[in-house]
C-alpha cells in the first residue's frame, strides 16, 4: 500500500508515538529490565512450533476428506462430495432455485466463471467480485449466497482457508447469509501445520492482507448460553469437496 512514511502523519501529534526514537526507547527499556544489552539478532528458539509427536500426524487423502466432512458436519455445516466442477455448477443452480435466492456472489476465480451460472440462473442476479467496483461491498452485503474456491483446508479441525486478493474479496465469505465453499480434495491437509508453515515460508510481500481460517458457521452462545447460528457471518455453510 501507499507510501507509509508520509502517511505516518509526520506533523501530527501522534507522529511522536510512531517514531523510531520512541520505538528504540521502548526496546531499550525492555532490554534494561531484562538486565542485558538489546538483542538485534534472531535468538535461538528451541521450542518453535508444535511438539515433535504432532509433526508426525498424518492421514491419507481419503481419511482427510472423511475427517474434514465429519468435522464440518458436526459444527452445523453441510458437506458433500462432488465428482467434478460440473456437479458443483448443478448443485449451485439447484441450491439457488430451492432457496429462492435473489443474488449470488462469486469470487473472480476462473473455475467458477466457467460454470456459466448467470446463463443458467435467469431469475437470480449473479455478481462476480470486482475490486474496481466501488459498490462491490454493498453488492456482497445484499447477496444471499457467496461462492468461493478455497485455497487450503485442514481435516483435523474442519477448517477451510481463504486468502484475499484483488480477485478474491474478504467479504464474499463473510457477508452473504449462505456460503458455498468449493474444496479441491488435494487442498485438504491433515491439520493446520502445513498451512501455517506455508505462511511462514512466504516472502513477506506476498502475504495477502487477509488470511481467513473458517471453521463452520458463525455462532454465539452469548444469550443465556443458548447456541445460535449465523450471528454476523454466514449461518448456512456448505463445503463441496471436488476430486
Amino acid at each position: 500500500m501507499a507510501d507509509t512514511n508520509s502517511r505516518q502523519g509526520s506533523g501530527t501529534a501522534r507522529a511522536i508515538y510512531a517514531s523510531k526514537e520512541r520505538q528504540d526507547e521502548w526496546m531499550q527499556y525492555i532490554a534494561d529490565r531484562l538486565g542485558r544489552p538489546r538483542i538485534t539478532e534472531k535468538p535461538q528458539h528451541p521450542f518453535r512450533g508444535v511438539p515433535d509427536f504432532w509433526r508426525e500426524y498424518d492421514l491419507n487423502q481419503e481419511e482427510r476428506i472423511n475427517l474434514f466432512m465429519s468435522n464440518w458436519t458436526n459444527l452445523g455445516g453441510h458437506a458433500f462430495r462432488m465428482s467434478s466442477m460440473q456437479e458443483v455448477g448443478r448443485f449451485l443452480e439447484d441450491f439457488a432455485r430451492e432457496t429462492g435466492a435473489q443474488k449470488l456472489l462469486l469470487q473472480r476465480q476462473p473455475e467458477l466463471l466457467d460454470l456459466g451460472l448467470p446463463e443458467a440462473l435467469k431469475d437470480v442476479e449473479c455478481v462476480v467480485w470486482d475490486s474496481s467496483d466501488d459498490d462491490i461491498i454493498d453488492e456482497a452485503a445484499q447477496a444471499d449466497i457467496g461462492v468461493v474456491i478455497v485455497d487450503h483446508a485442514a481435516a483435523y479441525t474442519g477448517t477451510i482457508v481463504v486468502l484475499s486478493s484483488p480477485d478474491k474479496g474478504r467479504s464474499t465469505s463473510l457477508l452473504p447469509r449462505a456460503l458455498v465453499a468449493v474444496v479441491p480434495a488435494s487442498a485438504i491437509e491433515a491439520n493446520l501445520g502445513p498451512i501455517l508453515k506455508g505462511l511462514d515460508a512466504r516472502p513477506k510481500d506476498q502475504l495477502p492482507a487477509g488470511v481467513h481460517f473458517i471453521t463452520g458457521p458463525s455462532r454465539s452462545s452469548d444469550i443465556e448460553n443458548d447456541l445460535t447460528i449465523g450471528v454476523h457471518g454466514p449461518g448456512i455453510v456448505y463445503a463441496l469437496i471436488v476430486g
Binding site: M1, T4, R7, R14, Y17, A18, Q23, W26, Q28, I30, D32, R33, L34, I39, P43, H45, F47, R48, G49, V50, L75, D130, S131, D133, I137, D138, A141, T157, T159, S164, P166, R170, L174, L192, G193, L196, L199, D200, D205, L207, P208, A209, V211, H212, F213, T215, G216, S218, R219, S220, D222, I223, E224, N225, D226, T228, V231, H232, G233, P234
Partner: protein, 505 residues
C-alpha cells in the same frame, strides 16, 4: 483501572451472593465451559505436553521481547500499517482521538478488546460525539444496558433472555420475543447497517506475529472480520505482550486457546491480517493503525515473580475453574479483568500498592487456576506475592498487621504458644458448649457460617509422654517391620545420592 473505587470485592461480592439468578447463571456457564475444555483436551490428548510447549513459546518471546516486538513493528510497517507505542491510556487516547478527528468519523464499530476497556475508549468516543458501537453480541447487549462485562469470554452471562429482550426491544422500537433466534436475528440486521456505515473499525488482537507483522484475531461471530474488512480505517489495539515469533508458533496457540476457552477445536474464524488492503483489493481498510499499549505491562518484565504473568493468552479457563468466581461472578471484582487472572493483573498493572484494595485476597489459594492455565501461569503463587508486596508497602489494614505481630510473638517460641493455648482454654470456658463455640466475637467471619471447635482440654503436646508410653506397648505386626526398615533406609540412601523420592512424590 479499579472502576468502583471506595467499594471492595468483599462488599460487592456480598451483593452478588444474594443474586440467585446471577449465581445460577455463572455456575451454569462456567460448568459448561469447564466441561467443554475437559472434553476437548481429552479428545486431543497429550495436553500436558501442549501446555508446556505453549509456556515455553511464551516465556521465550517475553524473554526476548525487545527483539520480537521490534521485529513485529518493523514488519507491520513494511506491510503498510502504521504502528504507535502508547505508554499509558492517556497516550493511546491522544492517538485515537486524532485519527478519529482526521477521518471525521461519526461512528466506530468495535469488536471485543479487553485493552480498550482499560483505556475507556468508548467513553472517549462518546465525549467526541462519535457513536462507539460494540458488535460482539454479548458486548452489544451490555453496552445497551450500560453495564460492564462479567466474564472475559461470555460478557453477558449475568443477563437472562427476558432482560435481553427488554433491552433490545427498546432499540428496535417494537416488542421482541425473548427467543434466542429472534434476538440474534435482530442484532444481525441492526448491526449490519452499522458495519456498512462506520468510518472506523476498532479491534483487539489475540496474537501478533513478529516475523510477518501480522495480527491474528480469534472469534466465533464474524464481527471482528466485519470491523477489519468493511470500514475504510482500522484501529487495532494490543498489549505489548501479545507477540509470538511465527505462524508455526501460532499453531500451538491455536491448539491451546479455543479448547481452553470454550472447548472448541478452533473458533469459527481465525483471521491473520497483514497490513491494510493491497492497492488492487476490493475490500479491507485503506489504513491500518496499530496502537501497542504498555500500561504497566513492561514493569512485569525483569520481575521474577511476575514476568510469567505476560504469558497469558486471555482464554478465561481460570475463571471457569475458580471456586470463588463461581459464586461471585465478574462484577464483584470491580475491574476490567475478573477471576483469577484479574485478581493478579489488576494490582500488578498498578504500581501503587496502596491502591490495590482487596482483590488479591478474594482467593482461597486453591491452585485450580494454575492447573487449568494452558500456559501454566502460577497465578496462585502470584496472589501470595501480591499480598506480600502489599504488606511490604505498609498499606495493609492496621488491625491485620497487629494480629500477625501477635502471631509472630506467640509462634516464635513454643513456650509462648503453650501459654497462649492455656489462656485460650480458660477463656473459652465462658463460650464453649459441647465442644463447640458458636458465639460471634472477633472471629465472626468464621462463626457466621460455621461453629468453632473449642481448644481441647489436653493438647497433643500435653499428652505426648503418655502417648509414647502407650504406643510402646502396642502390638505390632512383626513380620512387616524389617521390610519397612529396609525401605526407609533405601529412601535415605537415595536421598543422600541426590535422587529418589523427594519428600512427598
Amino acid at each position: 483501572m479499579a472502576d468502583t473505587a471506595g467499594s471492595s470485592v468483599k462488599v460487592r461480592s456480598k451483593q452478588a451472593l444474594q443474586d440467585d439468578f446471577l449465581r445460577k447463571a455463572v455456575k451454569f456457564t462456567t460448568e459448561r465451559l469447564k466441561n467443554g475444555k475437559r472434553k476437548a483436551t481429552e479428545e486431543h490428548g497429550n495436553w500436558e505436553e501442549w501446555r508446556e510447549r505453549g509456556r515455553q513459546i511464551r516465556l521465550h518471546t517475553i524473554a526476548h521481547l525487545d527483539y520480537y516486538l521490534n521485529l513485529f513493528a518493523d514488519n507491520a510497517r513494511k506491510a503498510g500499517a502504521q504502528v504507535y507505542f502508547a505508554k499509558d491510556p492517556a497516550e493511546a487516547v491522544i492517538i485515537t482521538r486524532e485519527i478519529v478527528r482526521e477521518k471525521q468519523a461519526r461512528s466506530v464499530v468495535k469488536s471485543k478488546s479487553m485493552v480498550t476497556e482499560e483505556l475507556h475508549i468508548n467513553h472517549v468516543l462518546e465525549e467526541m460525539d462519535v457513536a462507539a458501537i460494540e458488535t460482539d453480541l454479548g458486548e452489544y447487549i451490555i453496552q445497551l444496558a450500560h453495564e460492564p462485562p462479567s466474564h472475559i469470554i461470555i460478557p453477558a452471562i449475568h443477563k437472562n433472555k427476558q432482560q435481553i429482550a427488554e433491552v433490545l426491544s427498546e432499540v428496535a422500537g417494537e416488542r421482541l420475543e425473548p427467543d434466542t433466534q429472534v434476538l440474534a436475528g435482530f442484532v444481525r440486521r441492526k448491526l449490519r447497517e452499522q458495519f456498512l456505515q462506520a468510518e472506523i473499525g476498532m479491534t483487539g488482537c489475540n496474537f501478533a506475529i513478529a516475523e510477518s507483522g501480522s495480527i491474528v484475531i480469534f472469534e466465533n461471530e464474524g464481527n471482528a472480520r466485519m470491523c477489519s474488512t468493511l470500514p475504510k480505517t482500522q484501529i487495532t489495539f494490543m498489549g505489548l505482550e501479545r507477540i509470538i515469533p511465527s505462524f508455526e508458533d501460532l499453531e500451538v496457540m491455536a491448539t491451546l486457546l479455543p479448547r481452553s476457552a470454550t472447548g472448541q477445536k478452533l473458533t469459527a474464524y481465525m483471521s491473520a491480517i497483514t497490513g491494510p488492503r493491497r492497492m488492487a483489493d476490493g475490500d479491507g481498510p485503506e489504513e491500518l493503525h496499530m496502537i501497542i499499549i504498555d500500561n504497566g505491562r513492561s514493569r512485569q518484565i525483569g520481575d521474577p515473580d511476575f514476568q510469567e504473568l505476560l504469558n497469558c493468552i486471555r482464554c478465561g479457563a481460570c475463571l471457569n475453574v475458580c471456586p470463588v468466581y463461581r459464586h461471585i461472578g465478574g462484577h464483584s471484582y470491580g475491574s476490567v479483568y475478573s477471576g483469577p487472572i484479574g485478581a493478579v493483573l489488576t494490582p500488578a498493572l498498578m504500581e501503587d500498592a496502596s491502591q490495590w484494595q482487596d482483590i488479591a485476597y478474594a482467593s482461597s489459594l486453591c491452585g485450580a487456576c494454575w492447573e487449568a492455565c494452558p500456559v501454566k501461569i502460577p497465578l496462585h503463587d502470584m496472589l501470595v506475592y501480591l499480598r506480600s508486596r502489599k504488606v511490604e508497602s505498609g498499606t495493609s489494614p492496621t488491625a491485620e498487621q497487629v494480629v500477625f505481630k501477635g502471631f509472630n510473638y506467640v509462634m516464635s517460641d513454643h513456650r509462648r504458644m503453650e501459654r497462649f493455648l492455656k489462656l485460650g482454654k480458660v477463656g473459652q470456658k465462658l463460650v464453649a458448649r459441647d465442644g463447640y463455640i458458636k458465639i460471634k466475637g472477633p472471629l465472626k467471619g468464621w462463626t457466621n457460617y460455621r461453629d468453632l471447635p473449642e481448644i481441647p482440654k489436653q493438647s497433643f503436646r500435653d499428652r505426648w509422654k503418655e502417648l509414647q508410653a502407650e504406643v510402646a506397648q502396642q502390638p505390632k505386626p512383626n513380620t512387616m517391620i524389617r521390610d519397612i526398615e529396609q525401605r526407609m533406609r533405601k529412601v535415605l540412601e537415595e536421598r543422600s545420592r541426590g535422587g529418589g523420592s523427594r519428600g512427598g512424590h
